[in-house]
Symmetry: C2
Subunit: 77 residues, 2 copies
Amino acid sequence: MRKSIFYHAGCSVCVSAEHDIINLVGSDNVEVVNIGEERSRISEAEQAGVQSVPALVTPNGNTLHINFGASIADVKG
Amino acid sequence: MRKSIFYHAGCSVCVSAEHDIINLVGSDNVEVVNIGEERSRISEAEQAGVQSVPALVTPNGNTLHINFGASIADVKG
């Protein structure tokens, strides 16, 4: 199975959701990307349809926005 | 592992998220509840912190609001 990608920006909402997603899906099945730190991957997240973080992009390309930590615009600053 | 509970109300956003969550977590690990039909479970969802559907309540009691289909108020009508 291809991995899902969990995009976050280090916010408390993001960290909580990250723990939940890893518990549910298994850490081997999720790549975790902090777009607050890995800023070169912000555009990749946007292209996947990520409008806010935390968000999970599934192996089939669907984007699940989970709770609400910060908008992409806020992460860009 | 205790099951997660996926609350939805039959909306298109809900159905799409349901497929994604079942693919990710496995259908054996999720109870799917349509609170638009099983209205007696609306209060249970509210007590778990569900403010909008679709939402996933994890085995440890955290509520993940996934995308946005409808508010609980809308489901109550």
